[in-house]
Amino acid sequence: MPFEWFVALRYMRDAKGQTALILAAVAVGVSVIIFLSALIGGLQTSLIDKTLGSQPHITLRVPREAPRSLVEPTPTIAIARQVAESSQRLRSIDQWPVVVTAVEQVPGVIAVSPSITGAGFAVRADAKSAIVVRGVEPERFLSIIDVRARLVAGRYELDGGAVVVGSKLAANLGVGVGDKIRISSTEGSDDVVTVLGVFTLGNETVDATWVLTSLRHAQALYALPGGVTTIELKVADVFTAEQTAAEVRGRTGLRADSWMTINEELLSGLSAQSSSKLMIQFFVIVAVALGIASVLIVSVVQKSREIGILRAVGTPSRRILLVFLIQGGVLGIVGSFIGSGLGALLSLLFQTITSDASGAPKFLVKLDLSLFLFATAIATGVGLLSAVIPARRASRLDPATAIRNG
């Protein structure tokens, strides 16, 4: 075994108490880093999944109609005028099949679904409820929001006069699978449809208002033959939705809203959470580094006479330097292995404790290999770095003084 390793390992084995103490410190630090990352990662994933479970990543609409004045003021003529907001009527996206083909080409876009979104009423007997009519192409819409997986009753079928409604809406109207309801659109047309399925997306508003029907049916209801009012997109990486939206905006001239702008509060909450996580991790790392450094400094002081002897009998100072660097690195790497196990255990324990009555976890902690590799790399690096000062101190000991005073 190389001299440096032999001496370093023997010193650590010999000072069992010190070694155990510092390993414990590193392990606790690493487990906190792992636990915190897994917890917050899991929480964030679950929040984003819930949010995106009931909304598309990007929604394309026709730009709002803005009033335009007929006369503009000039430097010599002032005009007193009042601007009235235009009323926004439901309009079809111009040349939408071309737009669909175009946005399918945008990098990052993985699914495109043209649809009609309109307001209306649903009536059954005495019950009346405001609704959002979503006319969609059944298979394409599934790739945006997987309604089929969220069905609580019936089946996902939107042909002819068939609709699938949100569970809250079904409850409000008192309907179940096979029942008929009358829906009327803001355009004045109405129709009797059969409820073939009921879904729960977990979003209160959506579950209480959505009525899914076929695109063709909605086109008839809103007097938009062959038209669509919205095009919904799904992107590969949810966090690039805003960039993709900007790209789509540029290419099509349509209004493109990403989930990120719609859920700005959620995002700022998540980013605040991430930065507090980073802060905690940073200070944990600093504390671990100080721990390793102080124990090694004490060890250098305790062993200064022995270091002096080694130097006197002809050990080059760089080997002494390495002896202490190796100790720092080994403490870091071994401590992080223990800490990884501890952190994983802690995370799984937490997940079990927070499970609901049925035993299903409320959210999954996110433990992946990269997290462990990251923690191990950090701990080893910190171990090495914090050993630098003690190691330099050891390697610069004057042998004669160290032997006399050590």
């Binding site: 001299f3 002897i309 009998v313 002809g314 050990t315 100072s317 080997r319 004669a400 032997i403």
Partner: protein, 237 residues
């Protein structure tokens, strides 16, 4: 005896001063030449500069003026790396408080100088260490932690360590200073034996006049100067 051969050690006009403002002169122009195979005692009262001289000869300290030539190499212009290398190849050390590394076994302690110099242990290194430990009578204690050995045993391990690399010169600083009479005699006998058998040159700092009288030569240091330098006629041979 072998004074016609090239000297192992030449100390020329060595001066050592301590302190920045109020200078203390620990050595005031010391000239010493030691030939190969000599067993020399360095004696003198406390504060006479024996330890300072030994540290300078041992390349652990640098003289303020003068020079030290070890085995033909002038050490004046060597940097730390050069001094360390020369120490590793040319010198062996035996200290008063044996100074073994307590976490290591006897045989590991004997191997450490060569191991630390060359980086990796070799079969020969281990064999040589074991042979030396047998020679100092510790065949059955080789794998004991050195912290678990008695003072006399530790000093014998220290002598084995000093000799492990067959150095030209072994420097011993009060090697028997901390031992009872029986152990002292035993330790000195070992040095004498290695001196005879291997022809190793020894320079022994001692307070003990009985030890000094058994050496080949006695150099007496007083107030940083060599007061006397004589051969011991009655050296048993």
């Amino acid at each position: 005896m072998a004074n016609t051969a090239a000297p192992v050690l030449v100390v020329e006009g060595v001066v050592k001063e301590y302190g920045e403002v109020a200078k203390t002169r620990a050595l005031d122009g010391v000239d010493v030449t030691v030939g190969p195979g000599e067993l020399t005692a360095l004696v003198g009262p406390s504060g006479s500069g024996k330890s300072t001289l030994l540290n300078i000869i041992g390349l652990l300290d640098r003289p303020t003026a003068g020079r030290v030539v070890l085995g033909g190499t002038d050490t004046t212009d060597l940097d730390d790396r050069g001094l360390t290398g020369l120490r590793a190849r040319m010198l062996g050390f035996v200290f008063q408080f044996h100074h073994l590394l307590p976490a290591f076994t006897a045989v590991e302690n004997v191997m450490l100088p060569a191991w630390g110099d060359l980086g990796r242990p070799t079969v020969e290194m281990r064999a040589a260490a074991e042979e030396l430990l047998r020679a100092v009578g510790l065949a059955d204690r080789m794998h004991y932690r050195s912290g678990n050995l008695s003072g006399g045993q530790q000093q014998r391990v220290a002598i084995a360590r000093a000799l492990a690399r067959r150095p030209a010169l072994v420097l011993a600083d009060e090697p028997t200073g901390n031992l009872d009479t029986a152990s002292s005699a035993e330790v000195f006998a070992l040095m004498r034996r290695f001196n005879r058998e291997l022809g190793t040159t020894f320079l022994v700092v001692t307070h003990d006049s009985r030890i000094a009288e058994q050496c080949d030569r006695i150099i007496e240091l007083v107030d940083g100067r060599v007061r006397s330098d004589r051969s011991v006629a009655s050296s048993p041979s």
